[in-house]
């Protein structure tokens, strides 16, 4: 029996403590934002927040989550009332197929919670674990910059690296 909080609601889950969070979210709780991409922690599609940090839920066993707080993208807002980062992604139309985007949003959320004034380099480095195959990267970065501004921060240096 493992007790954890998901989007503010306490859950008591029994079953295999090894089962990665991703399958619980998608198949047991009907939370579909986190996606299966690789099951190997290589692509970031399944990223959620655990205690405010970006974590790949496909390699996070339930047993690792006892007493911890999980936030999925569903917990950040709804289509009618999107969260700050979600709104920034909508404003930038930062999606093509959209499959990777919930993971991107979770990762951006974790970054901006830790530091609402990241540098361009630290933003890219924070987003690096997440893959996008459609090539939506430029819009995703724009959305993160926009979200940082909306949170009262911003990207501290220009987008062009020093020569």
């Amino acid at each position: 029996m493992i007790e954890l909080t998901i989007n503010g609601t306490r859950h008591r889950l029994d079953g295999d403590p090894a089962e990665p969070l991703l399958y619980i979210l998608r198949n047991e709780l009907g939370l579909h934002a986190a996606k299966f991409g690789c099951g190997l922690g290589q692509c970031g599609s399944c990223t959620v927040l655990v205690d405010g940090k970006a974590v790949q839920s496909c390699i996070t066993p339930l047993a690792a989550l006892a007493g911890r707080a999980v936030t999925t993208v569903e917990g950040l807002g709804t289509a009618a009332a999107p969260g700050v980062v979600q709104q920034a992604f909508i404003d930038e139309q930062a999606a093509q197929c959209g499959y990777c985007i919930p993971g991107m949003i979770a990762r951006a959320e974790a970054l901006l919670r830790a530091d609402s004034r990241p540098t361009e380099a630290s933003m890219r480095s924070a987003m690096r674990p997440s893959l996008c195959r459609c090539g939506t990267h430029m819009r995703i970065l724009r959305a993160v910059r926009r979200a940082a501004m909306a949170m009262g921060g911003g990207i501290v240096d220009p987008t062009e690296p020093a020569s």
């Binding site: 990665p20 579909h32 299966f36 099951g39 959209g98 195959r133 690296p161």
Partner: protein, 748 residues
């Protein structure tokens, strides 16, 4: 009322639109249903009608109006993340004169929508968009005619506004009530014209994509997210990669594993089913321990590009011209090539299938639900009408990936459990191991400059396997080859010009007096391949635009000026000029290890015009490139959604940078060795450009031109040309990786 007065009225009234019929047909935008890929598209029955109306001329195939006035639009094309869902609604809402909220869209479904073949070749707006625009204009006209009859007035005196037909005396009728009294099962009339440009509200404007907010907040938007009561999860059991076979699989051991409720076997096809997904994930480790062998033909050793170049080929001269021109005094000959590339969907292929009451329903992210249905019907030995394929979005596919194969896997699994839906998803390793790859290609070019530095002669020979093995028969599906019923794959075929496969975009748009372009189709496939976004265009544009830069350098000419000197198409010239101007081509920084490059093409020589310029810097010690800036100019004819168009062009540039600089499928003696993102890496955030801008040249009076594959070729060439400028050497073999660049610098 004079024309001028009408225009004033329109400007003032905003929503008021008047009717008129054209004197003659406007069907100059002829329809073909795909990029030349696949089979099974229906014949043209109304060749005078534009877009896919030529195949499906009846209005109710495209648009239905409910009693409450809401319109449902049907398209045989699928939303693949390219944003057509919203773009087609913009078109329909505009032509119907309805608010966007009152229009909904049904996409590719063999039970409901027209058969528009495959969603490929950047054809959706050209074919479906054109059809829907004209169908909607027809419907609006029909509704007005009905109102005119009811009001006893001439149709020309009526106008429409937001779902209502208005008479000049103030009488009105809603679309809902009018539609209830007439049939839309009538053929479109070619002489019904679309609304004038000035009175369109949605086309050409940015409308937020309707699918984005749900996708960003956790809605079940993808086939992967579907759940149904009593649904079983499933995994397919096969060897580790294309061309392999498990030698003696211990199915009893698998069947005994906890959570495996059912093992389905037909011939060599096997799948395991269970109520929960996680036990199946773990059971795959047992499968991974099973011995396998290579069952396909032995792989040729060495670099498979050389094997493709050496295999028997069927030459087809697709262009030969021998115009008078000065003699060439300087020649350049070069070979360009690219490795096998992967589609690499971020989500592995997935399908949900339900076998119930003698009917097989498959929810699939295939790009061609109709051809898939035919293949599945043969595989399942069912009549066509007993199989229904409904498109559900998947992760972006960029061509023919595992989507169709997994649909067959799911259908076979579901057949064993009547009444229960089965969701079968490939593993990441299966996706990397089994998806049909984008073909490796070789292009050999030679060109000659005359004494004035003009191109006098040009030859281009391109070797390639087919670029489409999209399924239309059971033998085209992986499972079809496993079930042991003697199904064989369709023989590989070359996609003919003007679309072309390996020779797509092999014909340059430049003015070339003496030219021979030869497509060398290689029927024998060492590796299973199929359509990857852009087909041969990525390779051919890379080659052509590299060669153009090589010639410009030999002629001592600026690459932009050199291109403009060899172009006559004003739209091509405008695209390059716009880009050069906005990019600041004339004011390039001159800095060591920094370079700028440009690439241009008109996709398929019939789609969108696109030019890309790249400014990059190279770290000479490591060869690592930093793309400081990438800009593009694009002319896609009438632009429906400028933001959506920019999104496609931006994405194409980044994807092409990944293909061109980072990707290569490798093989050992037995199989491809790519099984995940560590063995087949792609571009990550640290390597994408620092700045990007896309400049849209809107041509509101001209037909839609597909743009989904317009930027890949130009971006590849722009990158290569920029690298050449930066390091003073030409790299002609993809990927232009950091290590290749470093070695070139070190060897210099």
């Amino acid at each position: 009322m004079s024309g001028i007065a009408r225009r004033d009225l329109l400007r003032g009234g905003g929503l008021v639109v008047l009717f008129a019929l054209a004197g003659s047909s406007v069907g100059q935008e002829g329809g073909t249903t795909g990029g030349g890929e696949g089979a099974g598209a229906p014949p043209e029955v109304a060749p005078g009608l534009p877009g896919s109306l030529a195949e499906f001329p009846h209005l109710d195939a495209w648009i239905r109006i409910a009693p409450d006035g809401a319109a449902t639009v049907f398209t045989g094309k699928a939303e693949l993340g390219q944003g057509i869902g919203t773009a087609l609604l913009q078109i329909a809402a505009d032509e119907l004169d309805l608010s966007l909220e009152c229009v909904s869209l049904v996409t590719a479904d063999t039970g409901r929508t027209p058969n528009e073949g495959i969603t490929s070749g950047s054809q959706s707006l050209q074919n479906s968009g054109t059809a829907i625009a004209h169908a909607a204009a027809n419907v609006r006209y029909l509704l007005a005619e009905r109102a005119a009859w009811r009001f006893g007035v001439a149709v020309e005196t009526l106008s429409t506004a937001n779902g209502v037909v208005l008479a000049s005396d103030g009488r009105r009728a809603t679309y809902g009530e009018l539609a209830a009294s007439l049939s839309l099962h009538v053929e479109a009339r070619p002489q019904v014209v679309r609304k004038r440009i000035g009175v369109r509200h949605h086309i050409g404007r940015d409308r937020p994509r309707r699918d984005i907010p749900p996708k960003l907040t956790g809605a079940a938007a993808y086939a992967h997210d579907m759940t149904m009561p009593g649904m079983l999860h499933a995994r397919v059991i096969r060897g580790p990669a294309d061309g392999t076979l498990l030698t003696a699989p211990d199915f009893d051991a698998i069947a005994r594993l906890p959570g495996v409720e059912r093992l389905v076997r037909t011939g060599d096809f096997a799948a395991m089913l269970g109520p929960r997904e996680w036990p199946l994930v773990q059971a795959m480790l047992t499968v991974g321990r099973m011995p396998w062998k290579r069952s396909g033909a032995p792989l040729p050793g060495g670099d498979l590009r050389d094997a493709i170049r050496a295999l028997p080929a069927e030459p087809d001269v697709i262009l030969e011209r021998n115009a008078a021109a000065p003699v060439a005094v300087r020649h350049i000959t070069a070979r360009y090539d690219r490795p096998y590339l992967m589609h690499g969907a971020i989500g592995p292929s997935c399908a949900v299938a339900l076998w119930q009451d003698g009917m097989m329903t498959v929810w699939t992210h295939s790009q061609g639900v109709y051809p898939l249905r035919a293949a599945l019907a043969e595989l399942l030995d069912l009549p066509l009408e007993r199989v229904r394929c409904i498109h559900r979005e998947g992760a972006g596919c960029y061509g023919h990936n595992g989507a169709d194969d997994v649909a067959a896997d799911a259908a076979l699994a579901a057949r064993a459990v009547p009444g229960r839906a089965v969701k079968l998803m490939w593993t990441r390793e299966q996706e990397h191991g089994w998806e049909p790859l984008g073909p490796a290609m070789v292009a050999e070019l030679s060109a000659g400059l005359d004494a004035d530095g003009q191109i006098a002669e040009w030859t281009h020979a391109v070797w390639s396997n087919t670029h489409s093995t999209r399924p239309s028969r059971a033998g085209d599906l992986l499972a079809g080859l496993e079930v042991g019923r003697g199904f064989a794959p369709s023989p590989p075929r070359a996609i003919p010009q003007p679309n072309g496969g390996g020779d797509r975009n092999a014909i340059p748009l430049y003015t070339l007096p003496r030219v021979t372009i030869t497509s060398l189709f290689v029927p024998q496939m060492p590796v299973r391949v199929s359509a990857l976004r852009g087909l041969g265009a990525h390779m051919n544009v890379f080659a052509i635009e590299s060669m153009i830069d090589e010639l410009a350098a030999a002629a001592g000419s600026d690459p932009v000026a050199f291109r403009l000197r060899h172009l006559s198409d004003p739209r091509a010239i405008a695209v390059i000029r716009t880009l050069a101007d906005r990019f600041g081509w004339a004011r390039q920084p001159s800095e060591r290890w920094r370079g700028q490059g440009l690439g241009f093409a008109r996709y398929k020589n019939s789609g969108a015009y696109c030019a890309v310029a790249i400014d990059l810097r190279i770290e000479p010690e490591t060869g690592a490139t930093t793309v400081l800036r990438a800009e593009a100019a694009v002319d896609a004819g009438e632009t429906v959604s400028p933001n959506g168009l920019r999104n496609q062009i931006e994405g194409g540039i980044v994807q092409s940078l990944s293909w061109t600089a980072h990707e290569e499928v490798r093989f050992d003696a037995a199989r491809r060795t790519a099984f995940d993102w560590s063995s087949y890496p792609m571009i990550r955030f640290d390597a994408v450009p620092y700045r990007m801008a896309v400049h849209v040249i809107d041509r509101p009076s001209l037909p839609f031109l597909g743009a989904g594959e317009a930027s890949q070729g130009p971006a590849a060439a722009a990158f290569a040309n920029a690298v050449t400028r930066a390091i003073g050497q030409r790299l002609r073999s993809m990927p232009l990786s950091a290590e290749r660049i470093r070695r070139a610098i070190a060897a210099d």
